[in-house]
């Protein structure tokens, strides 16, 4: 009985402080677009359990971000490697959030392949209510502030950046960045992007302009 619960992945070791510390990191990441932020070791301790079968169904930074941002009222859509029953049950148990089939108006989290149809379906909000735009949380293969072989090099400008900031992102196709650059004309409508990798994360909010890629 309760077999699914018996195999449930762990959450934050200390839910209150884990979520608060991760939220502070996310806040810093949003305020300084493109800068890499490492999550506090204390915050993510519980997400690396010694017991293998208590491991959460997502990597550390992705798991911490989801546990921090979601609650029962968050419209959520899981895609890619996260679009499975294990991840749904885990988020439902720890945050109360339910995965919804429709993509419109959702906070979307995904690991792995970025689906072009999914990007097109994302809600950008309206000029009157730009806050209704989606937040896209994507797990990428690598994140660095230096050029990486095989990674897309981005030069970011905009609010929170003094002149420009460089970031290299591996694991997202060129079409994804073309889509993101095309969205810049829509401001204040748009999608806020959180990139996670390992125990690190970086944010590219909608106000950030991506100037060069290659």
């Amino acid at each position: 009985m309760s077999s699914a619960l018996a195999r449930m992945g762990a959450g934050f070791a200390d839910p209150v402080h884990g979520a608060q510390q991760t939220f502070r990191t996310l806040l810093g990441a949003m305020a300084e677009p493109g800068r890499l932020h490492a999550l506090h070791d204390a915050a993510i301790a519980g997400l690396r359990p010694p017991d293998d079968d208590m491991r959460p169904p997502a990597n550390v930074a992705l798991a911490a971000t989801l546990l921090t941002l979601l609650d029962a009222d968050t419209p959520l859509h899981l895609a890619g490697a996260l679009g499975n029953d294990e991840a749904r049950a885990w988020l439902r148990f720890h945050t109360g959030a339910r995965d919804v089939a429709a993509v419109a108006g959702m906070t979307v989290a995904l690991a792995g392949d970025v689906d072009a149809a999914l990007l097109e379906a994302l809600d950008l909000g309206t000029d009157d209510a730009p806050q209704a735009g989606a937040t896209l949380i994507v797990e990428v293969d690598a994140l660095s502030d230096r050029p990486l072989p095989g990674a897309v090099a981005l030069k970011l400008r905009g609010a929170g950046i003094e002149t420009s900031r460089d970031i290299a992102v591996a694991g997202l196709p060129a079409s994804f960045w073309q889509w993101r650059i095309a969205l810049q004309a829509e401001l204040p409508r748009g999608v806020d992007l959180v990139l996670v990798c390992g125990a690190q994360l970086a944010a590219i909010p909608r106000s950030t302009r991506i100037h060069s890629e290659g």
């Binding site: 009985m1 309760s2 077999s3 699914a4 619960l5 018996a6 449930m8 762990a10 359990p49 079968d53």
Partner: protein
């Protein structure tokens, strides 16, 4: 909460022992829980205090209404048996008592382990149930003294 398919040893049996544990006196529960091995348990959900809305119907029928908020403490632990078998136990208690919720969760997890079930049913659940029954009987006896019977009135109306 995640609802999962319930099978052996049966949903009603588990509801029964959880009800017994939730109503058990604190000091008895503490004594039984103290005897459990500590290292086999992992916390899935550390004890947390929250509110739940208590709803009722007047006279047990009629429209449902909100009686008020009640504090509830809940906890979920996982037990790994010697044979590697996993069981998740949940503890819900009325009020703010984190230790009690965790004791109940641990006992619930162990009660789902076939190796521990019979012993615990005999040594923990049965005595706790008797204790609760005794306490309820004493309360019932106390209130029975002030009971007013309306038998006469009822028979006159029906006659």
């Amino acid at each position: 909460m995640t609802n999962t398919a319930e099978d052996t040893p049966g949903r009603s049996a588990r509801q029964h022992w959880l009800a017994v544990l939730a109503h058990a006196p604190r000091e008895l529960l503490e004594r039984h829980a103290a005897a459990l091995p500590d290292q086999a348990f992992a916390r899935l959900r550390a004890p947390e205090i929250g509110l739940t809305m208590v709803r009722a119907r007047i006279g047990n029928h009629g429209d449902r209404f909100n009686v008020g908020d009640a504090t509830v403490t809940r906890c979920v632990v996982r037990h790994r048996g010697d044979d590697g078998r996993l069981a998740a136990g949940v503890g819900y208690v009325l009020g703010r008592d984190e230790a009690r919720a965790e004791w109940i969760a641990r006992l619930d997890a162990l009660l789902q382990q076939p190796g521990h079930h019979d012993v615990l049913m005999r040594d923990v659940i049965a005595p706790l149930e008797q204790e609760t029954a005794k306490r309820r009987a004493a309360e019932a006896a106390l209130t029975a003294g002030s009971r007013v019977s309306f038998d006469t009135l009822a028979s006159e109306i029906s006659a």
